[in-house]
């Protein structure tokens, strides 16, 4: 039995006080090491809310979020931030690179405050950029790169910390089909027995690149199915 890296246990998330919106309703989900899964659903189905909770960027109204077995809802902000930095890597639709930093600087930002020397940080950042095929562009700023390259820098940033799970929010949403295919290929290559990859998307083509598909509707999981290799 492989280790559960992320788990939602009876999680609900309600927004608003006077007018309440139940974005997630009593959801339970396990993500295990080595899994490549996708979360799909139409707009408003709760998939982004779920991503925020899985990434402990947000806390549930009720229920428990476990990261590597630790109940993240019971942690202080500093402890939760440390756990997030160690266990989870993020890739966003809009890349979210820091514009004044080079590719290396952006990847190094994920390695700050971890007791690493500047030399160690740089070596790990360069290694991550090599992994996504951008070793030669390490000193370029985001503005000097194409969308696909920026997204690969974001992926390098996500894997530089060697997290247990990578959470990706519509990672191909801002890319043309050629770059989208390249980025999907990189995600496929990231799969390893120790690391889970979870992609939130509304694009079924992207969803079917995964081995497991979670379908959501109205804040609930309506289907959890294994997919055959494409």
């Amino acid at each position: 039995m492989t280790e559960t890296v992320l788990a939602l246990e009876g999680v609900s998330r309600v927004y608003g006080e006077e007018v309440q919106v139940r974005a997630l309703d009593d959801v339970t989900l396990d993500i295990r090491a080595g899994e490549f899964l996708s979360i799909v659903g139409p707009s408003g189905s709760g998939k982004s809310t779920m991503l925020g909770l899985l990434g402990i960027l947000d806390l549930p109204t009720s229920g428990i979020v476990r990261v590597r077995g630790t109940d993240a809802t019971q942690l202080s902000d500093a402890e939760r931030s440390r756990l997030r930095g160690e266990a989870i890597g993020f890739v966003f639709q809009q890349f979210h690179l820091i514009p004044h930093l080079t590719a290396t600087g952006n990847v190094e930002a994920a390695l700050l405050y971890r007791g690493l020397s500047a030399r160690q940080r740089r070596a790990r950042a360069l290694s991550a950029l090599e992994q996504v095929g951008l070793g030669a562009r390490h000193d370029h700023r985001p503005v000097q790169m194409s969308g696909g390259e920026q997204q690969r820098v974001a992926i390098a940033r996500a894997i530089a910390t060697e997290p247990s799970v990578i959470l990706a929010d519509e990672p191909t949403g801002a890319l043309d089909s050629h770059n989208a295919e390249n980025v999907l290929q990189v995600f496929g290559d990231l799969q390893s027995p120790e690391r889970a990859v979870c992609i939130v998307t509304h694009d079924l083509h992207v969803a079917h690149a995964a081995r497991r598909k979670i379908s959501m509707l109205d804040g609930q999981i309506v289907a959890d199915e294994a997919l055959a290799p494409g």
Partner: protein, 395 residues
């Protein structure tokens, strides 16, 4: 320590990526610290200058001016008998009287009539002890003596500036014409700090003034009195001794007191400048808070991504606080440098000896750091409170 270095690195990278904005927010601390350092430095340098001046003049010199008595229409004078009475006061060691003559055009050399008619040099009838009383030496020759006084010889001593204008050579035998009457120049008096007008004056004996210029009596209108002990008391006694209840009056003052008073006025002016500098620092602080708050909004995406990367709220707050700290440190250093430069320039222009306290420079630079850190508290807290989910705009 490593964490501290990393935070500094992130802060500097944030500041250097927006150089113009950083320069603009640095202006407040720079101007504030520069104004305060300059105000204090100029004040101290000028005080040092005044102190030197006071020491040079001596604090025991009293200047007595005749004031109008009942004789309207006449220039007020102090009678010779009154001068003698002042000289007999117990604490007085030297007294000399002077009287400025009028309607005399001095022509030091031929062809200069027009110029010296337009800009006349002062002609002063003087007692014989003027250099001793004022403690001013002669740069050449000798001062007027008893023989000159008793014989009514047409001799004159000139001030140092006039000698320079005149092109007078040391020991040279020259004459100077007063309304066409030639006077032999017998000496040159050094600079008189107390009376700069004497530097371009011509001095003659009272006998010459009476014989050649129709002065009715050899009475001075001003006395210089040297009283090394009880100076203030003597200054209070002199008007009484001069008038003896009669119509002649006199005002006595100690010029060093006036200089002291002048330094007090300078002090008030400098306090005002210091207050304005303090105000500039406060306004600078508000500027830092304002610009950094806007910057937090502009950089919300960066804050969101840093939170996603595992940076805690505290770390984000420290990052922005370190940016404010860096602005304060740089602003303080540059401000102290600019202030010191202003002090140097002013001291150089006015001939002061530059006085600048290193402790003061460091102190005011630290105040700038303090202001910047306090100003950075609000934007830092604001940055730390941003919810990552709101700034990252998922899906």
């Amino acid at each position: 320590m490593r964490r501290f270095r990393e935070l500094l690195g992130v802060a500097f990278s944030g500041l250097t990526s927006r150089k113009v904005r950083t320069l603009l927010i640095m202006l407040g601390p720079v101007l504030g610290v520069a104004a305060i350092v300059a105000a204090i430095g100029i004040n101290e340098s000028s005080k040092g200058h005044l102190k030197a001046k006071l020491q040079e003049l001596g604090t025991d010199l009293i200047v007595v001016n005749a004031s109008s008595g009942l004789g309207f229409g006449q220039d007020p004078v102090i009678e010779a008998a009154a001068v003698a009475r002042v000289g007999r006061l117990p604490d007085v060691v030297a007294v000399t009287g002077t009287r400025q003559m009028s309607d005399i055009v001095t022509v030091p050399f031929a062809g200069a009539e027009d110029y010296y008619r337009a800009f006349p040099v002062p002609v002063i009838a003087s007692g014989l002890d003027l250099p001793e009383t004022l403690e001013v030496p002669l740069v050449s020759g000798r001062f007027l003596n008893d023989f000159d006084e008793s014989s009514g010889a047409r001799v004159a001593v000139i001030g140092r500036d006039l000698a320079d204008e005149y092109g007078y050579l040391r020991g040279e035998s020259r004459t100077i014409e007063l309304n066409g009457v030639p006077y032999g120049v017998i000496g040159v008096l050094d600079y008189v700090l107390l009376e700069p007008s004497m530097d371009s004056a011509v001095f003659m004996t009272f006998t010459s003034a009476v014989n050649d210029w129709d002065l009715e009596d050899p009475d001075p209108s001003r006395l210089y009195v040297r009283a090394p002990t009880n100076t203030v008391l003597v200054a209070e006694e002199i008007p009484i001794v001069v008038s003896l209840g009669g119509p002649d009056g006199a005002n006595a003052s100690v010029p060093t007191d006036l200089l002291d008073a002048q330094s007090q006025v300078d002090e008030s002016l400098n306090n005002l400048t210091k207050m304005m500098g303090g105000l500039a620092l406060v306004v600078g602080g508000v500027g830092i808070a304002n610009v950094m708050s806007i910057s937090v909004i502009q950089r919300s995406s960066e804050i969101g991504i840093r939170r996603a990367l595992g940076h805690s709220r505290g770390t984000i707050a420290l990052q922005f606080l370190f940016e404010a700290l860096a602005v304060g440190v740089l602003g303080g250093i540059v401000g102290a440098g600019v202030g010191a430069g202003v002090v140097w320039a002013v001291a150089d222009a006015r001939g002061y000896t530059m006085v600048l306290s290193v402790v003061g420079l460091v102190g005011w630079a630290l105040v700038s750091v303090g202001v910047a850190v306090v100003a950075g508290l609000y934007p830092s807290t604001k940055a730390a409170r941003l919810e990552p989910l709101e700034t990252l705009r998922l899906g």
